[in-house]
Amino acid sequence: MKKLLSLLVAFLVIGGLTACSSGSGEKVAETIKIGVNLELTGDVSVYGIPERNAFEQATAEINAAGGIDGKLVELVIYDNAYDQAKAVQNTEKLIEDGVVAILGSATSGMTLAIAPLAKDNGLVVFTPSGTNSAVTMDGTNVNPWAFRACFIDPFQGQVLANFASGDLGAKNAVVMVNSGSEYSKELARIFTEQFTANGGKVVETASYADADTDYKASLTSIATKSFEVLFVADYAKNAGLIIGQARSTAGLETVNIIGPDGFEDPALNDLAGGAQNVSNVFFSTHFSTLSNDQQVADFVKSHAAFTLEKYGKAEVPSALTALAYDAAYMLFKAIDNADSTDPAAIRDALEALEAFDGVTGDISFDKFHNAVKPAFLIELNNGVPVNATIVNP
């Protein structure tokens, strides 16, 4: 009897849920369905959730303005939990749901899992933030159906090297690289190439493991070298600790530390042992609310209002939010330009977009479908962003 009861409870729960889902499925026929495949739960949900919020805001705005060519936009959102099996299954489901294009995923890994499938089914997959150079590629050719709204890591490495030798006037640099991270290794390699090409010299490259927390030994050895800029090619998890420990190492108290977009993390100051340690720190990123562009100011305001109303908490847009917001609008523009909801027409129109005026700058695609757009260089003073310099490609 007990067994029956347990089964009954389980099935009632499931049954109740399916009932809800079939009820909400009936919509007016005249909508444009756009699929969203994001990491909403699991290890990297911090990337997926801001992007979903931005997609929903863009959709709400375009629908309030009358939709695209008179048709309302409807998002079909599925969570892939940072699991490639789920990402693939979601994509199959989205194709069955009749979506005209897919927005997502937030990470390169998940986008790589869905891009071949989207290609086989002739559907655009547009990632706001997948920076791995393989995302838009199919072997050595471009994957005609895969696009991204962000610049890729090699560009960041170049921008940082140019910033170090130009704005900071550095001749000698030290690079710290996480040997367990592709992101870190690629950035370090490109930075070294560009910095050397600019006439500078990388006097030392120090490697560490992803799980390291004590960098004192290598920082003390670095401090004996003569250099003007320290490049920490990593995410805040390690970079924060490195900044904090560098500031308490004799000789490194005020040295300029530069880093990639991985520095942009609310936890950076805490990891560095307090905001007072985070000065003379610069990083490159996709977006800054410091920009004096009117469009950015409007977006910051409207995003706060939208998230407050929809989720009960006003959010400040991050780089991911802004990239997703631009990706959604670029797709809307492409559908509008195509005057059609045919996936192939949308693809052609998206590829043809030139200098799209987004909140992260003017965006075009190069021949590998990477976004060509400016980078923002942010200066942190006492842990607070004080200055944003726009670096054009």
Binding site: K3, L5, T41, Y78, Q84, K93, E96, P116
Partner: protein, 320 residues
């Protein structure tokens, strides 16, 4: 010796054949959609993983928490071979290489740890899975932390079905062989088994290597189904997910593992649109089952064609 082609085996063969052709027809007629098909692939791959872990945990009673590590060996072996040879032959070569590496690694782990009694294997396997993951993270041939992408998709229903039936056949025969019986006796009481003259270490090592080899095979199928492999897909969470299938279905019950995988696959499908509450409901269902069926769905019983005549006989008895 009984004839191999007895009535029961014939019934089993007919069921296997009919199931294959029914599903094949449904796929051809597009009644089973691409989405359902990719869920069937998931279920099939996890049936293999569940059954292979059941050999270690359910049959021999040794707790292993590193199954995803052996899965990743197979996944990366197949991915590397498929990058240069994107054909079925390439896949089979990849499976072969993966199974061999997995056998070697599991042998190295098992021999020292399985000489001990108790749960030392759990910690050792946990460590080994981490070592495998970190090695893959830093190996350039496997693409480092970002793994290998654009793997040729070769998965199909006939391929999946062949491997699932092969696994069921192998694990079923293992369980009912002299080795399997020895393993079960180790699970029941290791000291008594030793007193009966069973070389416990030897049989524990055999069961562990057998499970690890099958896990590598499932990993190879995984990599040709989902286009990419990356080391962080094979963390301890994946190991726990496989463990759940075994515990949920009933330790030592092969059919229990299969049924459990089906149920969890279905729960995943039903809960797919509810990102936020999915994990809560999923956990809730597991808790409810564990409260009412702590031994798992089937305990250590099996659902097989053996039950058919018994079933009739029981009904008769009741009515009289």
């Amino acid at each position: 010796m009984k004839n191999v082609l007895n009535k029961r085996n014939l019934i089993t063969l007919v069921i296997i054949g009919v199931l294959f052709f029914v599903v094949q027809l449904l796929i051809k007629e597009r009644i089973i959609t691409a989405y359902m098909r990719s869920n069937i692939y998931w279920i099939g791959i996890y049936i293999i993983l569940g059954l292979s872990l059941n050999m270690i945990i359910g049959i021999t009673g040794q707790l292993s928490l590193g199954h995803a590590g052996f899965m990743s060996i197979g996944a990366f072996a197949a991915a590397v071979v498929l990058k240069t040879n994107p054909t079925l032959t390439g896949l089979f070569i990849g499976i072969g290489i993966g199974v061999l590496i997995s056998l070697a690694v599991s042998f190295v782990v098992a021999v020292p740890t399985l000489r001990l009694k108790g749960d030392y294997l759990a910690i050792a396997t946990l460590g080994v899975a981490e070592i495998i993951r970190i090695v893959l993270n830093n190996l350039s041939v496997t693409g480092g932390a970002s793994g290998i992408s654009n793997i040729k998709m070769l998965m199909s229903w006939p391929l999946l079905y062949t491997f699932v039936i092969l696994t069921i056949f192998l694990t079923h025969n293992f369980k009912n062989s002299a080795i399997g019986r020895a393993c079960i006796s180790i699970k029941e009481d290791e000291i008594a088994a030793e007193a009966m003259g069973i070389n416990t270490t030897k049989y524990k090592v055999i069961a562990f290597m057998f499970g690890a080899a099958l896990a590598a095979m499932a990993g190879s199928l995984f990599s040709t189904t989902y286009y990419i492999v990356k080391p962080d897909s094979f963390g301890v969470n994946t190991s726990i997910n496989i463990l759940i299938l075994v515990v949920f279905g009933g330790m030592g019950s092969l059919s229990g593992t299969i049924i459990a995988t089906f149920i969890i696959g279905l729960v995943n499908i039903v809960l797919q649109p509810y990102a936020e509450i999915r994990m809560i409901l999923y956990a809730l269902i597991l808790i409810i089952v564990m409260i009412f069926r702590p031994q798992g769905l089937l305990g250590s019983q099996e659902l097989s064609t053996k039950l058919l005549p018994n079933f009739k006989w029981k009904r008769k008895e009741k009515s009289s």
